[in-house]
């Protein structure tokens, strides 16, 4: 990336390296949210609707895992994906795929825990109706998740926020390779360590602006859809 230009000049000038970094950040974090939703939402719904010995422990554990340190997740995934590790054959260390995996693991607890809370609250309201309509366990999960979709968007946003903001996991498993696994957060870390603080700050503001934009877009979608679906 051009060393002596300010972040603003890079945006206006359409710097290709900057756009590549932004694109990668979004690709990695959005993919992680999608995957985490795929695993986390059914998990949260299942936890909300079932009762079994040890359930309270699992709920507490899931809530606690929301605070999983990114760098610890990064290290664990690194050891898994390293050539000397169990999944080394996949050869995906230092690639965006590894970054997506690490971020997915990081945000599944957030999405699952928030889903569990939302579904549990909604179940209280829907319980009699769904039981009266003889809805089976899978049907309950699907119906509650769908009817709670607007509240669940908040869970997705929380997950996205966490993923887009973290640097520890993607730095370790991605390697911050120029043009390949460099995201906004790792680029900021790099520019800071090179002493180019204005550029680092500029990148930081761009990152914040993007996250705000995504939040606003999703909020707008929710308002519109709310008006449609009542």
């Amino acid at each position: 990336m051009a060393d002596h230009l300010s972040a603003w000049q890079l945006i206006v000038g359409g710097d290709a390296a900057l756009f590549a970094i932004v694109r990668l950040s979004l690709l990695v974090s959005l993919s992680a949210v999608a995957l985490a939703a795929l695993f986390g939402m059914p998990l949260g719904a299942l936890l909300a609707l079932t009762r079994f010995p040890g359930r309270p422990v699992l709920v507490v554990l899931l809530n606690a895992l929301m605070g999983l340190p990114p760098v610890v997740v990064g290290l664990a995934v690194y050891l898994l994906l390293s050539r000397s590790g169990p999944l080394g054959e996949l050869g995906i260390l230092f690639t965006p795929s590894a970054m997506v995996i690490a971020q997915t693991i990081l945000i599944v607890p957030i999405i699952a825990a928030l889903t569990r809370q939302t579904v549990e609250d909604l179940w209280r309201e829907y319980r009699d109706e769904l039981t009266a309509m003889d809805v089976g366990p899978l049907g309950r999960m699907a119906t509650l998740l769908w009817d709670a979709r607007f509240s669940l968007i908040t869970a997705l946003l929380a997950g996205f926020g966490r993923a887009a903001a973290e640097v520890g996991a993607v730095m370790i498993v991605g390697g911050n390779i120029d043009g390949f696994t460099r995201t906004m957060t790792t680029a900021i870390a790099l520019e800071t360590s090179k002493g180019d603080l204005p550029l680092a700050m500029g990148l930081g503001l761009i990152l914040v602006a993007i996250v705000i934009a995504i939040n606003a877009a999703l909020w707008g979608t929710r308002l519109w859809a709310d008006r449609q679906a009542g």
């Binding site: 060393d3 690709l27 959005l30 993919s31 999608a34 939703a37 795929l38 390293s82 050539r83 000397s84 590790g85 080394g88 050869g91 995906i92 260390l93 230092f94 690639t95 965006p96 795929s97 997506v100 769908w146 979709r149 390697g175 911050n176 390779i177 120029d178 390949f180 696994t181 800071t192 360590s193 090179k194 002493g195 180019d196 603080l197 859809a225």
Partner: protein, 276 residues
């Protein structure tokens, strides 16, 4: 309807993702574990496009400290290592993780400190300077990360006869991070720090810092390159990695290294003579 849209969105995300992973596996590329100083100085930014133009090989540099880079290679996660701590490299060689080692280039270390030089060491030789810092308990920032720079720094203290064990945590501060971070910290604390010249010249936050000691031949910093041993790790990209090694020590590669300048100053001096 919304659910159908969502399924479509997820599905396309998956496809894109898998596409990314697939593409990366097929293109001609190697992973080089190297040091933060070669990255931060901008050398790779200059060299690698030249190499890619010539051979079509994409070089992916994972920049870590020397110790970490060698460990990455020991785990088989890199094809080539390019670092600057000869003793550690030779240990790596002896352990069988590489078959050959080649000198590539050298640069020098410089002792950086506050402009007002509280320890009064400007212009002295390195060992005298370090002894003065210890005597006056002037703050000193160390990278403390087993990097080539860190290893060289420890050797210089030893050569100066200073025992660091007592000093750790008081005036001697180990931060466990890269060169840029160390310079930032030294600037903020008004401390001395040992840096490689390349990182120093391209460092943008010099603030109140300046070079206080340079030119001492004990500050000489040798870089070496090794192909990770394909016998130990069959997945290592042998031909592509060897092509990179060969190019670095070839007349062309060496000329390119010599050509790299920041603000008119040459940072690295090529000195490849063949295997050791």
């Amino acid at each position: 309807m919304l659910s159908r849209f969502c399924t479509l969105a997820f599905a396309s995300l998956f496809i894109v993702l898998i596409g990314c992973a697939g593409v990366s596996a097929e293109e001609k590329s190697i992973v080089v574990a190297s040091t933060t100083s070669t990255q931060d100085s901008g050398l790779f930014g200059y060299l690698l496009p030249i190499f890619k133009e010539k051979t079509g090989i994409e070089v992916k540099v994972v920049a870590q400290g020397t110790g970490q880079a060698l460990d990455t290679a020991r785990r088989g996660d890199a094809d080539v290592v390019f670092v600057h701590a000869k003793a550690q490299e030779e240990k790596f060689l002896a352990e069988g993780f590489a078959e050959k080692r080649f000198d590539v280039m050298y640069n020098d270390f410089v002792l950086i400190g506050p402009k007002d030089d509280p320890a009064g060491i400007k212009g002295k030789d390195i060992e005298t300077a370090l002894r003065a810092i210890a005597a006056k308990a002037a703050p000193f920032v160390s990278r403390g990360d087993r990097s080539g720079t860190h290893v060289a720094e420890l050797a210089l203290w030893k050569g100066a006869g200073v025992d660091l064990a007592a000093a750790k945590g008081s005036w001697y501060r180990e931060i466990g991070q890269g060169m840029g971070a160390a310079l930032n910290t030294a600037g903020a604390m008004g401390a001395y720090v040992l840096s490689d010249r390349g990182t120093w010249i391209s460092f943008k936050n010099k603030g109140d810092l300046a070079i206080v000691v340079e030119g001492d031949k004990r500050l000489f910093n040798q870089y070496g390159v090794m192909l990770v041993n394909p016998q130990k790790f069959p997945h290592v990209k042998k031909e592509l990695g060897q092509a990179f090694v060969d190019w670095l020590i070839s007349k062309e590669g060496q000329a390119a290294i010599a050509n790299y300048k920041i603000e008119g100053q040459q940072l690295f001096f090529p000195d490849a003579f063949g295997g050791s």
